[in-house]
């Protein structure tokens, strides 16, 4: 191989090496670019799931709150009914007591 041919082979190898590096940089750039769309996609998916869960929590809370409130009111109504029944049974005695207070000489 002559000197010129040797130089040519080396220059070709250098060109090939430069191309390899250039291709690798292009690939690296492409890899970096995919991350943006991947992250964006992942973000959208996770936030959609979170929003869905949040909506379910809100709906469930409304139902649970209403049921608890209804239950509380039912129990309170029963207790009030008992209280009023007891008070009604004590009404005559109470009237007597208050009349006695009214007529009491101080």
């Amino acid at each position: 191989m002559s000197g010129i041919e040797t130089v040519k082979v080396i220059v070709d190898a250098e060109k090939q090496a430069a191309k390899l590096i250039d291709d690798a940089m292009t690939e690296a750039s492409a890899i970096r670019k995919t991350i943006d769309s991947l992250v964006q996609q992942q973000r959208q998916q996770m936030l959609d799931e979170a929003k869905k869960e949040a909506a379910e929590i809100s709906a469930r809370a409304g139902d649970e709150g209403r049921l608890e409130a209804e239950q509380y009111e039912r129990e309170s109504a029963k207790a009030l009914q008992a209280l009023i029944a007891r008070a009604s049974a004590r009404k005559d005695a109470t009237v007597e007591k208050l009349v006695t207070m009214m007529m009491k000489l101080e």
Binding site: I35, G65, L83, T94, M101
Partner: protein
């Protein structure tokens, strides 16, 4: 340069390039991996915040619904209690107005109300005003009151007052009046009657 040396030299160049390309791609991949994990952590925090806020809002909604139910219940209870209490007070008024016909119970009270009024007024001469029924039976009253308040000159007003019972004791010129009617007594005692009545009706 012989052929094999040239080949080795070019092979070295290419190997070095390949190593560099590997390094470039690995670095890009590692960088991407790091960025992806950081982004994932950040999104996870964002998503958790959405759910956490929803839970806090949900708790607030539940608390508000329960609180409103408690308020409605309390209001209903107060209304029902007030209704029963009012019925009792009406009965007490009615019974009191009926009791004035029972002289054995009423006359001692009337005498007491008159004497208290006279003492409170503190004048040497006083005017006593009664309702129509009491005016008609004031003979027995006069004697009793005169006996108990011998040092005070008492004049009995001819005009009846509009009251269930009791008396109004006034100075002769009418400028000072002690109102000791049963109606006034009822009003004066009402706070006590309410307390006693509520305790009697609603205590456990």
């Amino acid at each position: 340069m012989i052929m094999s040396e040239t080949s080795k030299f070019t092979e070295d160049i290419l190997n070095s390039a390949r190593q560099k390309t590997d390094s470039i791609v690995r670095e890009a991949e590692a960088e991407t991996q790091r960025a992806s994990e950081e982004a994932k952590n950040s999104i996870t925090r964002e998503a958790e915040a959405i759910v956490r806020n929803a839970r806090a809002d949900a708790d607030a909604v539940k608390r508000r619904q329960i609180s409103e139910a408690r308020h409605r219940t309390k209001l209903r209870e107060q209304q029902e209690k007030a209704k029963v209490m009012q019925e009792v007070l009406d009965q007490v008024r009615k019974r009191t107005s009926q009791l004035v016909t029972d002289e054995t119970k009423y006359l001692p009270l009337l005498t007491h109300l008159i004497e208290n009024g006279v003492r409170e007024l503190g004048d040497k001469t006083v005017m006593i005003h009664l309702n129509k029924t009491d005016l008609e039976r004031n003979k027995s009253l006069e004697q009793k009151v005169d006996r108990n308040l011998g040092h005070v000159k008492i004049e009995w007003a001819k005009e009846p007052i509009d009251a269930v019972g009791g008396a109004v004791i006034s100075s002769l010129d009418g400028k000072i009046r002690i109102v000791n009617t049963l109606d006034q007594r009822f009003e004066a005692l009402e706070p006590k009657l309410l307390i006693e009545g509520r305790t009697s009706l609603f205590a456990e």
